[in-house]
């Protein structure tokens, strides 16, 4: 669902960098304490897996694209800080090796998907995991994708309101939230269901293999 370069105004991406920078710093400090020789190879594998899932993109009318994230898996296996960092790396790799997403969109994409998505997964799993773990995984994944998609749609939708020329014409993305919300959320409701099924499949396997070293 990430936003490509050229659609976001500096009024959006500069504050987003200001918010993302301390979040990356916090996550790096936590990651340094958490990473060891057992966790590092698994993190690399799941980051590569998330990268591959994110490369299967379908352009959507709302100015973004639809694809699986792999973020819920990262969060369930490694916790919020490592998942946020790993997903940021996925976004950087996509920008630098495929030209997807981009530099100016990086902080918005990282915050909406990497941080908020991971926090939702961790919160829902912590809240419901004790009742029924599999249901909690499915719900956590579905809700995290939908909330991230809602945030992306809103960030795009406010562009014509905050970046206009003297005549009131939009300087960047031209559609408001009335267009972006349904255009992004409707396809993502289906994509999120598919991602929840995939996450459940891999999460069960990871639990059998005892890879869930840092369950959210």
């Amino acid at each position: 669902m990430h936003i490509p370069d050229g659609l976001l105004s500096p009024q959006t991406f500069i504050p987003a960098f200001a918010i993302a920078a301390p979040a990356w710093w916090w996550a790096s400090r936590r990651a340094r304490r958490q990473l060891d020789d057992a966790l590092l190879p698994r993190l690399a594998v799941f980051t590569a897996f998330a990268f591959l899932l994110s490369t299967l993109m379908l352009p959507l009318p709302g100015g973004t694209s639809g694809h699986a994230l792999g973020l819920a898996l990262l969060t369930l296996c490694f916790g919020v800080p490592l998942a946020f960092l790993a997903y940021t790396l996925v976004l950087v790799l996509q920008a630098l090796t495929l030209g997807a997403g981009g530099l100016t969109a990086l902080p918005v994409n990282a915050l909406c998907m990497g941080l908020v998505g991971a926090l939702v997964v961790a919160g829902v799993y912590r809240g419901l995991g004790g009742l029924h773990a599999a249901t909690a995984v499915v719900l956590a994944t579905w809700l995290s994708v939908m909330l991230s998609a809602t945030l992306v749609a809103l960030v795009l939708g406010v562009q014509p309101l905050i970046a206009r020329d003297a005549d009131g014409a939009p300087l960047f993305f031209p559609f408001g939230p009335a267009v972006t919300l349904p255009a992004i959320l409707l396809p993502h409701a289906v994509l999120a269901t598919a991602e929840a099924a995939l996450t459940l499949l891999v999460w069960r396997h990871a639990r059998r293999r005892q890879w869930l070293a840092r369950v959210a």
């Binding site: 020789d37 594998v45 897996f49 790396l89 530099l103 014409a169 031209p174």
Partner: protein, 186 residues
């Protein structure tokens, strides 16, 4: 960070992308696009074709949506359409140029941690792709008819889990080898 020619090119790309978001005049954006096309040297048309393929879907969807809504609402502004298309094309062309001419591993030579992560993840991506290709060829060589949709889903599920097992095993071996050689000691 110890800058080399490729590090500077990477920084130049980043600066150019950010600068292109500060320019709103379609004529200036068009001139910049033409400049990038001329400066990108031999293979510029292949680069332009790759750029168009990369952004065509996004640009067409947004542009057609804008034209349709503007036409229905009587608010169609060609300057908005031009600006949007030119900016997206310019940034995509700059990125395609950078991807073609800047070897990322060399460009990140001043940042050993970033370089190491890039290598590790790229190696895992390559491994996943090779496993998927092996599986596809193995399935094709053993089947005389095309698999049904259900078989495809079941096969994809099995492949995902098998690929994860192999990739984790491979990554653990590589990490132990790197640790044994002192590559992770910093």
């Amino acid at each position: 960070m110890k800058p080399n020619r490729h590090s500077l090119a990477l920084l130049g790309w980043a600066a150019a992308v950010v600068t292109s978001t500060l320019v709103h005049e379609p004529a200036v954006l068009a001139a910049a696009l033409l400049g990038v096309l001329l400066l990108s040297g031999r293979g510029r048309w292949a680069l332009a074709t790759r750029t168009l393929k990369a952004v065509a879907a996004v640009v067409l969807l947004i542009s057609l949506g804008y034209v349709g809504m503007g036409w229905l609402g009587g608010t169609l502004d060609t300057a908005v359409l031009l600006r949007l298309n030119l900016r997206l094309l310019l940034i995509a062309m700059l990125t395609a140029w950078m991807l073609r001419d800047v070897p990322l591993i060399t460009a990140l030579s001043g940042l050993p941690s970033a370089q190491r992560w890039l290598v590790i993840v790229q190696a895992q991506v390559a491994l996943f792709r090779r496993l998927a290709e092996d599986y596809r060829l193995a399935r094709r060589s053993r089947s005389t008819v095309a698999p049904t949709l259900r078989q495809r889903y079941l096969g994809a599920g099995s492949l995902t889990l098998a690929a994860l097992d192999k990739a984790v095993h491979n990554a653990e071996t590589v990490t132990q080898a790197m640790r044994a050689r002192g590559a992770l000691d910093d």
